[in-house]
């Protein structure tokens, strides 16, 4: 039953003026579930969502402009940390790998092994946070604390190594900032031993809980071809059944030496590409990361972690685009060098920026509670979306 509005109301980003029974709900920049400062404008008809218009940019800190004004390529690394602040090691790794390709540097074996261990530990930490906060969004308060208890163990290992818990500035171009301390291998092995049964506990508590499955299965289905066209990557793409992992399909560093599987969504609880699939891909990826860490920690060779760090970084005019697999997806760096010591252009291709653009397509026709579930399954970090 539509009344006629005397003055049509238009919302920027929405294709037509509002009808009288439609309501604009604002999940404002401050909201318990939007994982940061994200503003979602929901156009709803009762409980059914007609469209979602995301507004981003609240955390824009001009990373790309800063990078152009740094006097040195190494000085950009602390800024890289702060993009995806949940998974800083992987940001640093992406930038370092890109610069090393630009400069043609080959890093020592010891550095490669330590980088892989750090990146995989960080992947587990990032997924733990994603899973914990996802449970919180769905209403389960306890798995959040169990996940953080395990995440604390990883952050303790990081603090032992480089002194920082969240933003490390650890992986430098050509090497690392600190060598691993004595006792590092022991701590990592202990962590692996303690963490494996905790994944089972998490599965018992949250993953196969009937209410959780009801809330997430068949919700926010993303078909595989739509996912690829929208540029999805990481668990969002793998949850739709596409077996695509940059560590295997476009290898960088020494990932081709390790045996691990790439979990994909199979529609086990509902449809392929629903929220549950994206969630279970993250849980299974944690197990695979444990396996990689277990293999790597046995074989760390000796060497000097700072031997390949160039004293002066002045690449010739050239440009490169390198992508690495961060926990959120494909993190790409497009670096243009102009022959001076500071970069000419550093463009970051953030995985969550692209994954977030799929949110409106996945949420049309869902209910408001489902939008929260879908947003949680995409796992965004606003620091990376906005840079």
């Amino acid at each position: 039953m539509e009344a006629v509005l005397e003055k049509p109301v238009s919302i920027p980003g929405f294709t037509r003026p509002l009808k009288s029974h439609e309501m604009v709900l604002n999940m404002g920049p401050q909201h318990p579930s939007t994982h940061g400062v994200l503003r979602l404008e929901l156009i709803v008809d009762g409980e059914i969502v007609i469209d979602v218009i995301p507004h981003i940019g609240y955390l824009h800190r001009c990373f790309e402009k800063h990078a152009e004004h740094m006097t040195n390529y190494q000085q950009v690394i602390p800024y890289c940390d702060r993009m995806d602040y949940i998974a800083s090691m992987n940001n640093d790794l992406g930038y370092a790998v890109a610069c090393e390709k630009l400069l043609g540097i080959k890093v020592p074996e010891r550095v490669e092994y330590i980088r892989v261990i750090m990146a995989e530990l960080q992947r587990i930490a990032s997924h733990l946070l994603a899973i914990g906060t996802y449970g919180l969004d769905i209403g389960a308060f306890t798995p959040f604390l169990y996940c953080f208890r395990d995440r604390e163990r990883i952050l303790d290992i990081f603090e032992h190594t480089c002194g920082a818990r969240l933003l490390y500035n650890y992986i430098w171009i050509g090497g690392l900032s600190h060598d691993i301390p004595t006792g590092f291998e022991g701590k990592v092995r202990d962590f692996c031993k303690v963490f494996r049964p905790n994944i089972k506990e998490l599965n018992d508590l949250l993953t196969y809980n009937k209410i959780f499955v009801e809330r997430t299965a068949n919700v926010g289905v993303l078909p595989a071809d739509v996912a690829i066209n929208y540029g999805a990557s990481g668990p969002v793409l793998r949850g739709s059944g596409v077996k695509w992992d940059l560590r295997k399909n476009d290898p960088y560093s020494i990932y081709d030496r390790f045996e691990f599987e790439v979990p994909t969504g199979t529609g086990e609880m509902g449809t392929v590409g629903d929220c549950w699939d994206r969630y279970i891909v993250r849980v299974r990826e944690m197990e695979q990361s444990l396996s990689i860490i277990g293999q790597a920690v046995e074989k760390i060779p000796t060497g000097d972690v700072q031997s390949a760090i160039p004293k002066r970084i002045r690449p010739d005019s050239s440009e490169v685009y390198v992508r690495t697999e961060s926990p959120k997806g494909e993190l790409g760096f497009y670096i243009i060098a102009d022959g001076t010591t500071s970069p000419y252009r550093v463009k970051v291709r953030p995985p969550t920026f692209v994954n977030l653009s799929i949110l409106p397509a996945m949420s049309r026709g869902a209910m408001i509670a489902d939008v929260i579930a879908i947003l949680g399954s995409i796992d965004i970090v606003l620091g990376e979306v906005d840079r």
Partner: protein
């Protein structure tokens, strides 16, 4: 397919549009095309069976200085696992490029960002608005000749 074959296939089909090709001596081989016909090239790249570039990895804006801006696309094929870059140069005083949003939906937000930070207007984009900066911001910050405004809504900008 190796980059040379890809470039030859594109050059064969779009002889007038392709301005430049570089496969040797660069880390990322690229094809330079005219900005006004980039969509047809992209449609060909996406739909041709031997090319099948179904994934746009990244679309970046660049300020080349000297009155020139550029748009750089990095493409990738999940089936054949090959990559190519496309470049399109536009004039800084009237930067218009064709939008490839209808080819790859991911370009929607990437082009909005290029518009927001460089001012490149994309012809055919359904919803070209600023994305990272506030809607009423003036200027295009990532241009090399950008100066900060003094005040924004009564707040002093440079500190």
């Amino acid at each position: 397919m190796i980059p040379k074959e890809i470039c030859d296939a594109v050059k064969a089909k779009f002889a007038e549009t392709v301005l430049d090709v570089k496969t040797e001596g660069v880390l990322d081989p690229f094809i330079r095309v005219a900005p006004g016909q980039i969509r047809d090239v992209c449609l060909f790249l996406r739909d041709d069976d031997s090319l099948l570039f179904d994934s746009l990895m990244c679309l970046s804006g660049v300020d080349y200085q000297g009155g020139k801006l550029g748009v750089v696309l990095h493409l990738h094929s999940t089936k054949w696992n090959h990559k190519i870059a496309l470049k399109a140069d536009v004039q800084a005083d009237n930067p218009v490029c064709q939008s490839v949003e209808s080819v790859w939906k991911t370009a929607n937000w990437h082009e909005r960002e290029a518009y927001d930070l460089f001012g490149v207007r994309f012809d055919g984009h359904p919803d070209l608005r600023r994305i990272l900066l506030p809607d009423d911001w003036e200027g295009f910050p990532l241009r090399k000749d950008y100066t900060l405004p003094e005040y924004y809504h009564g707040m002093k900008v440079p500190y």
